[in-house]
């Protein structure tokens, strides 16, 4: 191997077996191939050197060269991180996970993303790698026909604004550590929970305990996993090596999406065919209630934080132009797909 090899140890916030890590390793191989083996990305499992919550701090300090999480993981450091990692209810302006990529790559999102890390005051270079949404509404003990039914259940909500929005619409939201969720569902300490989407959910094991699965949800329509490289480490790379990472990251955006469609499809098939999981349509009043509450909390955050307002404005400007087209096209896509899916029943 070449003598000037740079090793970037990337600690992820999820276990080594997760799909995201699989795709991250795929990205690492691309980087290695593109740099003739001179830049090696070595993936460390969650907790290897520092705890999950301290991952970004560790990259910032140079304790590890890189980190891998979802952008909204760092919402506690800056509220605008949520607009990149999981813009609640499609940023309140109908941005789905594909439209998000359009905003990110051509609508000014990437430039704002670079600014985010400066706003946060961390010395990292970020790369958006994997769109992993849309996430499901979640798993329930009993079917729900309306929001009134939903409000009867104790629901373990996701972190941050997406979760707070549930509290705002009167859901009995429970705070609970990740490790407690499954036993809590099993024993009936809580009645419902969400994690991600069919593949990760089935790895998590919800189907062993709950059988009613709702795919359509708004709290994390768009979810993006990204990579942070310590700024000094990144700057020590040659321009060609930096370009290689950028190109591999762009490739990863589409590869990850393609991969997830197939993997989630396989998982969903397995869940419904082999585990007795029943799919339901989400009650219609959910969409209006959640969307209104989400918009309210977006407005509130925009009023409190200038950079948040700036990013959200950019998304709104983009949405005004792109969403009408994309929603129209998606309606046709959805009908197309649904027609085939129904023919399988």
């Amino acid at each position: 191997l070449a003598e000037a090899q740079t090793v970037i140890r990337v600690q992820s916030v999820i276990p080594a077996k997760a799909d995201e890590v699989h795709m991250l390793e795929d990205f690492a191989k691309d980087v290695s191939d593109l740099t003739d083996g001179q830049v090696q990305i070595e993936v460390l499992p969650a907790g290897a050197v520092v705890g999950v919550k301290e991952t970004l701090d560790a990259v910032d300090a140079g304790l590890i060269e890189g980190g891998f999480a979802w952008t909204h993981y760092w919402s506690g450091k800056h509220p605008a991180a949520m607009l990149f990692g999981s813009p609640v209810a499609g940023a309140g302006v109908g941005i789905d996970n594909i439209a998000f990529l359009s905003w990110f790559q051509y609508g000014g999102g990437r430039e704002l993303y670079d600014e985010l890390w400066q706003e946060m005051g961390v010395n990292v270079k970020g790369f958006m790698l994997q769109p992993v949404g849309p996430e499901a509404l979640g798993w329930f003990k009993e079917p729900i026909a309306s929001m009134d039914d939903f409000r009867k259940y104790r629901f373990r909500t996701p972190p941050g604004i997406p979760g707070q929005t549930y509290k705002d619409i009167g859901i009995a939201s429970v705070a609970m550590g990740g490790g407690d969720i499954l036993p809590a569902l099993e024993k009936g300490t809580i009645d419902a929970a969400e994690w991600c989407c069919p593949k990760p959910d089935s790895v998590f094991g919800f189907q062993k305990v709950l059988k009613h699965y709702y795919l359509q949800g708004l709290h994390q329509v768009v979810v993006n996993a990204d990579l942070y490289i310590n700024g000094d480490v990144y700057n020590s790379l040659t321009p060609l090596q930096q370009k290689a990472i950028e190109v591999a990251a762009n490739a990863s955006l589409s590869k990850a999406m393609s991969y997830r469609i197939y993997e989630n499809g396989k998982a969903l098939k397995d869940l419904t065919e082999n585990h007795g999981v029943q799919l339901h349509d989400t009650p219609a009043d959910y969409f209006t209630e959640y969307m209104n509450a989400a918009r309210a909390s977006l407005e509130k955050n925009a009023a409190e934080n200038e950079f948040f307002a700036k990013v959200w404005q950019s998304q709104k400007d983009f949405a005004e132009i792109a969403v009408p087209f994309w929603a129209g096209a998606q309606a046709s896509n959805a009908s197309l797909g649904k027609a085939f899916a129904d023919s399988l029943k």
Binding site: P15, L44, A48, V49, V50, G51, V52, K53, E54, D57, A58, A61, G62, L63, I64, Y73, W74, S75, G76, K77, H78, G121, R151, K152, Y153, R154, T157, P158, P159, G160, G163, Q164, Y166, K167, G170, A172, S173, V174, A175, M176, G177, G179, D180, L182, P183, A184, E186, K187, G188, T189, I190
Partner: protein, 650 residues
């Protein structure tokens, strides 16, 4: 604890964990101590005493939050089942988002703030096999040298970095990212630099004590060095953290390079670190600090001083925010309150009387009571002592074998770390990524099995040799069986109810393990109240004792995590995993080797470093070999429980 002399006066609830708690009252100093040192030592002691007295009160809101959460959430469920969830919401019932945050933040703050108090009390745990054989003068000299060489630099650097880290949280008003509520982090995080400051100050008092203990001559020589030392430490600190004020860092790194120290590959530095740890533990400095010193020295060698303290800060932060670990103080408190209710005496006496005609009745009584109380407390030790005191007298009178008696008492007492609720399993859960609930459920059968085996062993011995455990003398036998039955009932039902309440609430789904710990602790308070044993003084004493044990365990957890993280950062675990897998051994052999290793390490080391340093190294290998981790966890727990009983510890 030595098995041959059951000197009950010296036993303390925490005897298994604490080599020697200090007897001197805080603020008292020896007459012949250097005069200018006396007020310093006295004031620091008194300050940390008050810090401890105030900090221990944090347990009350933790307990309150957990009880409130369970009651409010369950009430909501009941209303919802009746179709009246809107009424419940109207009444403000339902799960809360704040209880979880309060619990983890308060419990994190509790062990950090109490660290200096615990050092003052002398309750940080030591492995003192070498230490205890030295002359007091030698002990003092070794202690003082370690304080100067490692303790003060480590605490000063740690204080610096953790202050920076905390300041940033205040400055940006950073919030938690892993919860819906996203509570602000800065207030609780402030406990970290504060706690380190208290530790640092207490270190000064401890150093002066050691200097006094050296005797006047050596002490005076040591004292002369101190000013030079202080200046030196200041220069080094500035060189590391403020290189623009003190730009001498370059000389140091040149010297390190010249000595050829950078040539050793990082993973191998980790191997050296692990080897030295096994030796260094025996020097007898508190284990937590030894681990911190080693992480510091080898981390600084491998990847730099500033980074190693950053790593320590992040690791401590992580432990402070781990909600599962809030179960530690709660289960400890529950056990202590149960003791205070005096139920153990009652149950023990009644079992002993009921079986008074049987051979080895007292052994059965000891093991029966231990098993019941093991299910009511999270640690070892607590029950050992009380049982020791009660049983030893009667056993002596009845002519029982001292050796078998001591063995039974210790074996019974240590069941507490295996039979749930077990703090060891609480700590092990996150390490193996297994829900604590599952570990608790899995540990019940092996725990009871072990209790049965101990009983059968003791009875078997008595069967063959009656002199080991003769029936009670005639005059000790009960005359009124109704009275015995009543005592048995009153002794058994309350703890059984409490245990069923705490464990049952987990297994039946009313609560998570931490919530159940809170409810159990609260239940124990009620029980003590019901038995008219609750006074403000007793409650306060229990809170202080809880703080001591909590600091002891949690500080060791944080220190072990830091040591393990340094080890990981050096890349040693990856290397060891690859080496182990390359050996191409069968799963059975790998397990036998791992268990033998853990058993051996179980003598000198506490379970905490084993669970947090050794077990994580093994996990990747086990995953690769498809070993069921829940089963492995229970195997480790049984193994450690047994290792505890073997010499030299037991």
């Amino acid at each position: 604890m030595s098995s041959n002399d059951l000197d009950t006066d010296k036993l303390d609830t925490t005897d298994e964990l604490i080599a020697e708690a200090r007897q001197e009252a805080p603020g008292e100093t020896p007459e012949d101590m250097t005069p200018w040192m006396r007020p310093i030592v006295a004031n620091i002691d008194v300050m940390n005493l008050w810090v401890g007295r105030i900090t221990c009160l944090l347990l009350l809101p933790i307990m309150g939050a957990m009880v409130f959460e369970v009651v409010s959430r369950e009430a909501f469920r009941i209303f919802a089942v009746m179709g009246a969830d809107d009424v419940a919401r109207e009444l403000g019932l339902g799960p809360t988002l704040w209880a979880y945050e309060t619990t983890r933040m308060f419990s994190g703050a509790m062990f950090m703030l109490g660290a200096g108090y615990a050092l003052m009390r002398g309750v940080h745990i030591r492995a003192d096999f070498l230490y205890r054989n030295w002359q007091p003068k030698t002990q003092a000299t070794v202690d003082a040298c370690l304080y100067l060489a490692f303790y003060f630099p480590a605490m000063v650097f740690f204080l610096w970095i953790s202050t920076e880290y905390t300041w940033k949280a205040w400055d940006t008003w950073e919030r938690a990212m892993d919860t819906t509520m996203m509570a602000p982090l800065a207030p609780a995080r402030t406990a970290m630099p504060l706690g380190i400051l208290f530790l640092l100050l207490q270190g000064i008092a401890e150093l002066f004590r050691a200097i006094h203990q050296m005797g006047p001559e050596r002490g005076a020589r040591f004292t002369k060095v101190l000013p030079y030392y202080a200046v030196g430490l200041l220069i080094v600190t500035l060189a590391i953290f403020a290189p623009d004020i003190m730009p001498i860092g370059g000389y140091w790194s040149d010297a390190v390079k010249a000595a050829g120290l950078t040539s050793l590959a990082q993973p191998w530095i980790g191997v050296v670190m692990l080897a030295i740890m096994l030796l260094a533990i025996f020097v007898g400095f508190p284990i937590s600090f030894t681990l911190i010193f080693l992480g510091f020295a080898f981390g600084a060698w491998g990847f730099g001083t500033k980074l190693v303290f950053y790593l320590q800060t992040l690791q401590f932060n992580s432990v402070m925010l781990e909600e599962t670990l809030a179960a530690v103080p709660l289960f400890v408190f529950m056990g202590i309150m149960m003791e205070q209710a005096g139920l153990m005496e009652r149950l023990f006496t009644s079992v002993q009387l009921m079986l008074s005609r049987t051979r080895g009745a007292l052994y059965i009584a000891v093991l029966f009571v231990s098993t019941i109380f093991a299910a009511a407390t999270g640690i070892v030790g607590a029950s050992v002592t009380i049982l020791g005191i009660m049983a030893a007298k009667t056993m002596n009178r009845s002519g029982y074998s001292v050796r078998l008696a001591a063995g039974t008492i210790t074996a019974g007492g240590t069941l507490g770390i295996l039979i749930p609720p077990s703090i060891m399993l609480v700590v092990m859960g996150p390490v193996l990524e297994i829900p604590v609930t599952d570990l608790f459920a899995a540990a019940i059968i092996p725990g009871l099995l072990l209790a049965t085996l101990y009983t059968l062993y003791a009875l078997g011995r008595c069967w063959f040799d009656e002199s080991l455990g003769p029936p009670l003398p005639e005059d000790e036998r009960p005359t009124d069986m109704m009275f015995v039955a009543r005592e048995f009932f009153l002794g058994l039902v309350p703890p059984a109810a409490l245990v069923a309440f705490a464990l049952g609430s987990i297994l039946l789904g009313y609560a998570t393990p931490t919530e159940a710990a809170g409810c159990g602790a609260f239940g124990a308070v009620l029980l003590t109240l019901a038995y008219r044993r609750l006074t403000v003084g007793r409650l306060y004493e229990a809170l202080l004792k809880t703080l001591e044990i909590t600091v002891l365990i949690m500080f060791l957890v944080a220190a072990s995590n830091f040591f393990g993280a340094t080890f990981s950062r050096l890349g040693t675990p990856t290397m060891l995993t690859e080496m182990l897998l390359a050996l191409d051994l069968s799963t059975t052999w790998v397990l036998i080797i791992i268990m033998a290793l853990i058993f051996l390490l179980g003598w000198p080391l506490e379970w905490v470093p084993i669970v947090l340093i050794i077990v994580p190294i093994m996990v990747p290998v086990l995953v690769e070999l498809n070993v069921d981790l829940t089963w492995f966890a229970i195997l480790v727990a049984v193994n450690l429980q047994t290792a505890w009983l073997s010499p030299p510890v037991a």
